[in-house]
Symmetry: C2
Amino acid sequence: MIIDCHGHYTTAPKQLATFRQQQMAGLKDKSLRPKSLDLGIADAEIRASLEGAQLKFQRERGTDVTIFSPRAAGMEHHVGDEETGALWARVCNDLIARVCGLYPKNFIGVCQLPQVPGVSPKNCVAELERCVKELGFVGCNLNPDPSGGYWKDPPLTDKYWYPIYEKMVELDMPAMVHVSSSCNPAFHATGAHYINGDTTAFMQFITADLFKDFPTLKFIIPHGGGAVPYHWGRYRGLAQDLKRPPLAEHLMKNVFFDTCVYHYPGIELLTKVISIDNILFASEMVGAVKGIDPETGHHFDDTKRYIDQLAALSTENRTKLFEGNARRVYGRLDAVLKQRGLN
Amino acid sequence: MIIDCHGHYTTAPKQLATFRQQQMAGLKDKSLRPKSLDLGIADAEIRASLEGAQLKFQRERGTDVTIFSPRAAGMEHHVGDEETGALWARVCNDLIARVCGLYPKNFIGVCQLPQVPGVSPKNCVAELERCVKELGFVGCNLNPDPSGGYWKDPPLTDKYWYPIYEKMVELDMPAMVHVSSSCNPAFHATGAHYINGDTTAFMQFITADLFKDFPTLKFIIPHGGGAVPYHWGRYRGLAQDLKRPPLAEHLMKNVFFDTCVYHYPGIELLTKVISIDNILFASEMVGAVKGIDPETGHHFDDTKRYIDQLAALSTENRTKLFEGNARRVYGRLDAVLKQRGLN
């Protein structure tokens, strides 16, 4: 089985955007708020939104199941207030649950959290619990910068974040560290803010002892780990200069990278430098880069192709990367797959 | 000749730090300001600060000339005011000029600019001119985020920056895009802020047409280009999605990467993915990572070793990478080398 651990519902029916527009209008004039949490989306519309996109690519590329979450750029934790954020996360997550209900063999849910800059992530615990217990989700996306490019919240290693970590550990839910859109004109979202978020989180983990406090807490750093594998010598060297333990021991039981790197040499470096046990297959489709690479004639984000070209990857390691590691990192995944008749 | 285009005076005699402490004290109590711009550093102290560090490594590693600038983390554009910033840049640059005077065959100067968050970089023009005309420098370090991790100034492609670009072009001076220390607790300086600064700048260049306005303007993006070469497919794909010209045509006559990547697989990827014409040898020594890699028994930042291991690098490309590209990008370098009897 080939499990893609990083897919977003970037093609949701337009009613979702309308709901959000009403929320934004409602911030100024309460009478304009959405009247209902029912978006009025028919099953056929959901099917249509996926058939020509995510499902088509699954079939064409030969991948099986996508761990699927709301559009990352759409989370917009920096916009609105606690109330709009809570309802927005709820409707986005409910829509993912409908996708998983319609296509139980193709999609497994991961949730958006109702984070708000400067508000304790305690406010996310109830939604996380609902998404596991009522919707059958297996993980969450955690935004290390809810301020959207101004980085106003404490580092991920700060006790500020512990309430959500305690619940993640209790529920056996990993988090993908994933920023949302950027309201800082310095940062292009998918070209700078996303990658910087990944790099920043990894360095935060190096400098602290978070995993002494939470030995079973797990994070996936997407987009191939940001800049980290390319600068692996720098990070090993910095850890050493800072008198931290070797990275394998200090972080790599808890931190994993996905394969959203859109050219063969990048994937080659990732799999050469980082232990295969720490790499989870992913494509981010349909996502950041939508086009076809004129150098190869294939989609940039068809990351399976790059991995298939790795002559040095043994069958055992291939299975880990495509399936085994995801089953290990997402502690609830095995049970959900079994429940759906996927073994 | 082997030219290292990225070295900082991280080992300056302690009088430099004392001057800075007096500046900081003087912000609260004017009577505590430094009494003089003469730091009272003897030539012998400068020699001692370099002999066991930068000069020792040049000899041991077989490199010849270092393009040398004040300590990047020490620039601290986010600290103090316009007056302290101007004097701080001046004394730091004067000290680099003394280093170059004492070791004309080993060091060529690059200057710190007196940038201040929110203040037009017009204020840097006079110091840039002084450093070229009086001190014989060949380039400058330009901080894309003088706020030190809060990214409050406009993107590098904004007309805000044009006054300094006009002077750079007039003087034939490239800039290394280099942030300073971070006052944002989210960002470790050398592990996150530096690399993010590099990635961010490159993406800013993609989204605009800066090099239509300044066809001869040149930037070196240090630390191997941040995350960019590892994610080269992503950047090519984003440029295409954004209807930008191919990167080779859009940016790569103006943007160059250094080789400050501290392990062999990273250097291998860099030289495989990026045209050799766009890569300048550098080690950042004595800098971000000081230790010895237990996996190789050599310093992490001995980047020449990694390049020497590249079997695929032709003699012609090797010469470009170690020397020719630097002579091309730093337009004034040839003349300065000749003046010093180095050809």
